[in-house]
């Protein structure tokens, strides 16, 4: 039997194995990281496949829930586990050919620990365990963001640290309140006992949880750290922030709010804050001069859109939100990795410096355009189907104001991305030629292939999202699954 605990055990082993052997054998970090994360992905994928038929629950210490910490993989967490581990794997593949940040061995230890924390957030069924994994992810990402020791990265790191540790302390307050009321830490058990506890204490706890995970999933007004962290971090780490860390935060936000919060209030809060984030971030992206900062704002905006669509709460909307989340992860990670290749070769950061790069380097231009067009929802790419289902599910609920706001934001998004593509393909004799290492390009080509295959035949993947959205929609089946069995 595949046990979810294996992911955590193997990651810890791999991470500290690097630290153990690095004094003797230099430069093995990236290979060990690649193998460890590859193994995690293998376990994660087989767990995900299994969980589609029967959800997997692992207990610790020989007690059944609610008396012990448990790891749960059901369809909704399976989808997120797959996103996080696949993106993590592709990033580690990218780093095989791309220089890691110095000191390299410590960098890869942190990378593995970060992914371990993110998969832990997604799998755990225990509120305090969630807090611990949350902190593992957060502390390793502070270090990963500021590892470059440049002004911008240190600044991004300290801002991220201050805001995120306030957020996680508030989460701990929420845990204390819920534990004081229900006497349990198991998420499903808390959800089952929720109707019987003091309403106002429960409400305060929910709001605190909301704030804590809004910080991590980059929702306005708790996202002041995000643009600086994205800009200051290495490009692979920006990709990690967009594809792994924010997605783990999003999972925790959705899992806790959907399992613990009543429907009308939840919808209102998620929709209002989500759409606000989307509009503000897209408008801020418009005036950015630096490519990474522009992508950072676009990333924040997409997270806002996904949260708003989750807020609608019907099954088609949930499906659309998950689909959009996957598309955003794939596109944005590809874009950040491509930017990383450009910076490694040419050391350019400004939008105007990209003039003519796409014309001179056809492969680079093609991959950039694919990722961008997917993000914009151009027909025949995967992003088209997710944008379409977002519009349909919003329209079906009669939320026309939300629909028009989404369209407004999307138009702004189209404008600055098309401007970026125009710069890429502008005539410029002085544009430099890039040495593209094939191994470096493989993860991006894989993502481009995913975009096209899903774009041609979305039916390959939508059943998975269907199951996932049903799993999160029926909160009682989750409660039954964990404490009923």
């Amino acid at each position: 039997m595949v046990n979810p605990i294996l992911i955590i055990a193997i990651s810890l082993f791999g991470a500290f194995f690097i630290a153990l052997i690095s004094p003797f054998v230099k430069r093995t970090g990236k290979i060990i990281a690649f193998l460890t994360i590859g193994f995690d992905l293998y376990i994660g994928a087989s767990l995900a496949l299994k969980s589609l038929r029967t959800p997997v629950i692992a207990y610790t210490a020989g007690f059944k829930p609610p008396f012990s910490i448990n790891l749960v993989v059901e369809p909704f967490s399976a989808v997120f586990l797959l996103i996080v581990l696949t993106i993590g794997f592709l990033i580690s593949l990218y780093y095989l050919a791309h220089p890691g940040e110095e000191p390299e061995d410590k960098f890869f230890t942190l990378l593995i620990l970060n992914l371990m924390g993110a998969s832990g957030i997604i799998m755990t069924g225990d509120l305090f365990n969630l807090f611990v994994f949350f902190e593992i992810t957060a502390i390793s990402s502070y270090a990963l963001v500021s590892i470059r020791k440049q002004k911008a990265s240190l600044e991004g790191g300290i801002k991220y640290l201050i805001i995120s540790s306030i957020g996680s302390s508030l989460f701990l307050v929420a845990i204390a309140l819920l534990y004081g009321q229900t006497g349990t830490l198991n998420i499903a058990d808390i959800a089952a006992k929720l109707p019987f506890i003091n309403k106002s204490v429960a409400l305060v706890a929910f709001l605190l949880i909301l704030v804590a995970f809004f910080v991590e999933s980059e929702i306005f007004p708790f996202n002041g750290w995000a643009p600086d962290a994205y800009q200051g971090a290495g490009e692979g780490i920006s990709a990690l922030l967009a594809g792994v860390i924010s997605k783990a935060g999003l999972y925790a936000l959705i899992r806790l709010t959907f399992t613990l919060l009543d429907l009308p209030l939840r919808s209102k809060l998620l929709i209002v804050f989500g759409i606000m984030t989307f509009l503000i971030a897209e408008l801020s992206a418009l005036k950015q001069k630096r490519v990474k900062r522009m992508l950072a704002y676009s990333s924040i905006g997409q997270m806002g859109l996904v949260v708003a669509i989750f807020g609608i709460g019907t099954i088609p909307a949930l499906k659309a939100a998950i689909f959009q989340g996957v598309n955003h992860a794939v596109s944005k990670v590809a874009l950040f990795l491509l930017v990383g290749m450009v910076i490694k070769n040419l050391g350019i950061y400004k939008l105007d410096d990209y003039k003519g790069l796409g014309r001179k380097n056809p492969l680079l231009g093609l991959l950039f355009s694919l990722a961008i067009l997917n993000l914009l929802g151009f027909p025949l790419f995967a992003g088209f189907w997710s944008k379409l289902s977002i519009l349909l599910s919003t329209g079906k609920q009669g939320l026309y104001l939300l629909l028009s706001l989404i369209l407004t934001g999307a138009i702004v998004e189209v404008y600055y991305y098309v401007r970026f593509m125009k710069i890429l393909y502008e005539r410029n004799e002085e544009a430099s030629h890039l040495e593209i290492h094939l191994l470096e390009a493989i993860p991006i080509i894989a993502m481009a292939a995913f975009i096209i295959i899903i774009g041609v035949n979305p039916g390959l993947i939508t059943p998975l999202f269907e199951k996932a959205s049903e799993a999160i929609f029926m909160k009682f089946s989750y409660i039954n699954l964990v404490i009923g069995g």
Binding site: F128, F131, V132, E135, I139, Y142, A143, S146, K149, K151, A152, L154, E155, G157, I158, K159, L161, I162, S165, I166, S169, L172, V173, I175, A176, L177, Y179, G180, L185, G224, D228
Partner: protein, 114 residues
Amino acid sequence: MNGGAMFYGAAIALIIGGIMIAATKRNLIKIIIGLNIMETGVNLLLITTGYISGGTAPIMNKTWTKVVDPIPQALVLTAIVIGVAVTAMALSIVVRIYEKNNSLDIRKIKEMRW
């Protein structure tokens, strides 16, 4: 005097005070001290949820009658460790910032725009 209410009040005061310090001070070290005060408040709150006035440690022997809940204490132990790790991380970043900028004032660090 109701012990429980006093402890809750003190915990909440520490949390709010810590956040206020972190939000209003300009010196990075003071901000980190604010974060630490907030963490202390959270830990006190956690302990208070399991506290019973006059209770003893939950160790099984013949004489015990009233024991406090051991779980919050286990949680606080973990939370303290995490808090120390965050503080260490923060201070090491601050050392680097000081090396680069020769200042701990967040207003003087030019690129610091919220």
